[in-house]
Symmetry: C2
Subunit: 232 residues, 2 copies
DNA sequence: CGCAGCCTTGACAAATGTCAACAAACGTGG
DNA sequence: CCACGTTTGTTGACATTTGTCAAGGCTGCG
């Protein structure tokens, strides 16, 4: 594995506190691979042979059933995905595909489980990471069950605005058809939802969003820290 | 803490492999309490001072936003809840209320985190439990995003039928208004959904469900192990 | 008995999805 | 740099799904 990726991975919360020898041992069986855009890295139902670490690029986690498909999450560097499947030695529940040219480190799942037994700090980090993932999905579940699509979009825009620095003009982080899928609606519905937010001062030009009056949108969206805050 | 509850808790996957002294230490600060039905045990947003273990009875985990409420899960003995909040020392994301007279063991969260550091087997068990919880929510998320309410009900009935032993007649495990909330719909919609399944051989009398032709319903529901199987 | 809560039903409204058409944006190869 | 085709986004018309409100029935319990 190249030194650059090695150092980046080492800095991840998941690995930062590991003993040197355990981390080195874990990396011995690992390798880094480059993928072009739109490559399916893993397929739901397959056995979880590797823990994946996204070093650069972007990855979409999605699921299908009965001919339908929905986007569950987007992974950005540097972070791991499908940790739960690795830990449980169970089949992937989601598929993953690259959204752009990406570098991915692959760590054999059995090595991860072995390192977990050897290294208390690593075990602790895994627990924290899993708890974090769990809480994220719960928030997303609340978003889906308690809000209409218009409310979900409004809150998404507020989150994205904050994430982009808080300015009144910012860019969407991915294409609208996928945003629609993430928010649990069709692209057509998303188009109309953007129009539905015009009365609250939201204007759209391509991927560029302008929020004229933050507080006006907030009054409509009613963001909640137990759904919309990424920490806590 | 009474010996009976002590032994039951000890048998939980989460605690079964712990060293005796660590388990005893953990239980020293714990206590068991009896609650009548319809008591709110925890409120979302509160700090997670205790890990809860349901010893007997039943508990509903639910969330609210903007005057709306939705049921996220039902806890049956013997199992823990809000483990993730305890681990992360973060506020509860869900509220919990008893559905019937219940016995709950309360273990101080800081003791749990301390025991985690001391006992590798306990740490492993927590990871497994969290991974399990995570995967359950993901399955539920897929159910919500990929299926219509009629399909969700059909698959729920198949799961419940299997859970009840597989016979063609079985009982719903909770009242319909809460089932509706779990499935992400209104009680009125659930009523109509039951009628919508009549063509597939489903009949309802109170909480008693009859599935005349299992395969007929299955053809409609298209159950999938990556959504509907509780293991894997 | 009478009340309260749950369930069901009907009529209606709102939200969301589908299909088709077209416009806009993008990438590729000339 | 342009021409072309492909993909994505938008819009309208419409269908379906889901929610809302109101009324009435059923059940369980004091």
């Amino acid at each position: 594995m190249p030194d650059s990726a090695y150092g980046d991975i080492r800095k991840l919360d998941l690995f930062a506190q590991m003993a040197d020898e355990n981390f080195t041992g874990l990396m011995r069986g690992a390798y880094v691979q480059n993928f072009p855009s739109q490559i399916e890295l893993i397929t739901e139902g397959d056995p979880s042979d590797f823990l994946h670490v996204l070093v650069s690029g972007a990855v979409d986690l999605f699921s299908t059933w009965n001919g339908r498909e929905t986007s569950m999450a987007t992974i950005r560097p540097i972070s791991t995905f499908i940790l739960a499947a690795t830990v449980k030695d169970a089949p992937y529940l989601m598929s993953a595909r690259t959204l752009e040219k990406s570098r991915v480190a692959l760590i054999p799942s059995q090595d991860v489980r072995a390192a977990f037994d050897l290294d208390g700090n690593f075990a602790r980090a895994i627990v924290t990471e899993l708890a974090q993932c769990y809480r994220s999905v719960i928030k997303s579940q609340k978003d889906l069950k308690l809000r209409t699509s218009l409310e979900r979009l409004a809150n998404y825009l507020l989150r994205q605005q904050r994430h982009a620095g808080g300015g009144s003009v910012f860019e969407l982080e991915f294409e609208k058809r996928r945003l629609a899928s993430v928010l649990g609606m069709t692209p057509e519905n998303l188009s109309r939802a953007f129009k539905g937010l015009q009365p609250y001062g939201v204007t759209v030009a391509g991927t560029r969003i302008t929020i004229e009056d933050h507080n006006e949108l907030k009054r409509f969206a009613k963001p909640n820290r137990l759904i919309d805050d990424h920490q806590s």
